[in-house]
């Protein structure tokens, strides 16, 4: 069965002022799979991730050319509702960043902002999201406690729950485990494999073993270019490009 494409980039260029950060990126990202972006620091993998939910809009000097479509519709077309886009494409950040509020209020933030105020509905969304993020059992007795009182790994799973609570289709994870200890990292990796059933996951990671363990497809970026993008097994066992091979065998990066 061919993969169903959910996101598609064609000749995508990205500039920070005069500096070009992405060059002619062309890639189709399949639905309900885990896609990993790897590459050395500054290679453009995070920049590409942030063009997908238009978080780069926050940088005044940023500029995008080429096309990037989500379900066939151009993300950068004039008149696109960015907030609606971000509701469909959620994001989890490198450093756990729960709001300085209770666990409950963190998870309920998105639905509340989008107009859900019915208590019973919110309760259900919060519980579902926390269960989906595999943190419900750890926090169910402390929903009213500050999210900042949790451990880093727990905070990150609360952040994942918070992102899931607005029912996105795609979840972008920007090195979401790099600030965590190995046990917390393993928990989140297991979680990603579960979430794959219901969401499309795109993750940036600087950890090649992580990409090899949990992703279906892997894209290797170098100096703003997409060097190689294929099934994860294939990329790690028989890379086509010499540069990919050098990187995954640890010759640089």
């Amino acid at each position: 069965m061919p993969d169903k494409t959910i996101l598609s980039a064609k000749d995508l260029d990205f500039f920070y002022g005069p500096a070009q950060a992405l060059r002619h990126i062309t890639a189709n990202i399949p639905a309900n799979q885990v896609t990993a972006f790897i590459g050395p620091s500054g290679c453009g993998k995070s920049t590409f991730l942030r063009t997908i939910n238009r978080m780069n809009d926050l940088i005044p000097i940023a500029r995008v050319t080429g096309s990037l479509t989500f379900h066939g519709r151009d993300i950068y077309a004039p008149g696109v509702d960015v907030t609606a886009l971000r509701r469909q494409i959620g994001m989890v950040f490198q450093k756990p960043n729960p709001f300085p509020m209770s666990v409950y209020d963190n998870v309920a933030y998105g639905p509340r902002t989008h107009g859900t105020c019915d208590r019973a509905k919110l309760d259900a969304i919060v519980e579902d999201s926390l269960r989906a993020a595999a943190i419900w059992d750890e926090v169910k007795d402390r929903l009213k406690k500050s999210a900042l009182s949790l451990s880093g790994g727990q905070q990150q799973r609360v952040c994942i729950a918070r992102a899931l609570a607005v029912r996105p289709e795609v979840l972008l994870m920007d090195e979401a485990t790099s600030a965590l200890d190995p046990i917390s990292t393993a928990k989140i990796e297991d979680l990603i494999l579960e979430l794959r059933e219901r969401f499309t996951i795109i993750m940036v990671t600087h950890n090649m073993q992580q990409a090899a363990r949990i992703s279906d497809k892997t894209a290797f970026f170098l100096m703003g270019e997409l060097i190689e993008y294929t099934a994860t097994e294939r990329l790690f066992s028989m890379p086509r490009d010499k540069r990919t091979e050098d990187y995954i065998t640890g010759r640089f990066g």
């Binding site: 950040f93 709001f99 300085p100 992102a163």
Partner: protein, 291 residues
């Protein structure tokens, strides 16, 4: 253990002395206010001093020393200044810290600081020459000197500290919080009001408390616009504050008279008010830090 050098020791003693001077002044003022303020309260009676509704200190046959009108005027005046000034100040702070293009913010910020540097007598003068006649004309009053005029002047006077402190608190909110909110599909204004302001709430509370302190303690500007009749407070009538009550009568109160002692008692009440506000302030800041 090495022995400390004599220069080091003497510097330390110097710093200690400087620190003690400030503390000594606070203690001295407190002690003096208590000593000077208590006799009149004793003579008039605490209840009839604090809750008496008539202040008529110069009546030769039957002087009255009830400061309830003054207390309420100060409380209403400060509350009114907060109600008018804080929303304006907070919105300005949000604009400066979050919304304004950097260049515009760079222009507005010094302007706000300039507002803080204007002497209060100038505020009073402008209030007296512009605001008071305008109020009289708009509202068709016999005189524009009123609690309302004082509230408006105080509201402008607390703006700079409310804006500066709130903007600093808003700027200190970690960018990660705002990014998380935007990534969930919140708009920028939603993010400011639902994430940034709550995250900066202890700083904003400090700004408000500082504003209250300034409003309660201000004398000169409101002396010039409030009319200074010791009425029970009402928005459009002439009123007298705790501060202006002291300032007006101190000049002609005979030394040693009950009138003069009563003015010191007003000072004591004012002092306790400010202390109370400071205690509440440090409590809110502390509680804000724990969350």
């Amino acid at each position: 253990m090495t022995k400390r050098k004599p220069a080091e020791v003497s510097m330390q003693i110097l710093f200690l002395l400087c620190g003690l001077v400030a503390v000594a002044f606070v203690l001295l003022i407190t002690a003096y206010l208590i000593a000077a303020g208590l006799p009149a309260i004793r003579q008039v009676g605490l209840a009839s001093f604090l809750f008496g509704r008539t202040w008529d200190s110069t009546n030769e046959t039957d002087p009255r020393f009830g400061i309830l009108p003054l207390i309420l005027t100060s409380v209403y005046g400060a509350a009114g200044a907060i109600v008018v000034g804080v929303p304006i100040g907070l919105l300005t702070a949000i604009f400066l810290a979050k919304a304004a293009p950097p260049r515009l913010a760079g222009l507005l910020r010094p302007a706000v600081s300039l507002l803080a540097g204007i002497p209060s007598v100038v505020y009073g003068l402008v209030g007296m020459c512009v605001l008071v006649p305008a109020l009289r004309a708009w509202l068709n009053l016999p005189a524009g000197d009123s609690l309302l005029a004082a509230i408006l002047v105080l509201a402008v006077m607390i703006l700079p500290s409310v804006i500066d402190l709130s903007a600093a608190a808003l700027e200190a909110v970690p960018k990660e919080y705002e990014e998380a909110s935007l990534a969930l599909g919140a708009t920028e204004p939603e993010t400011w009001f639902r994430v940034s302001v709550p995250a900066a709430k202890s700083g904003i509370a400090a700004a408000v408390a500082l504003g209250i302190g300034r409003a309660i303690g201000e004398a000169m500007a409101i002396l010039m616009v409030a009319g200074n009749v010791a009425n029970m407070p009402s928005l459009l009538r002439s009123v007298r504050f705790l501060t202006t009550g002291i300032a007006i009568e101190m000049n002609y109160a005979a030394p040693g008279s009950l009138q003069r002692q009563a003015l010191f008692s007003i000072g004591l009440v004012l002092f306790l008010f400010i202390m109370l506000i400071n205690i509440l302030l440090s409590l809110t800041v502390k509680r804000g830090k724990e969350v």
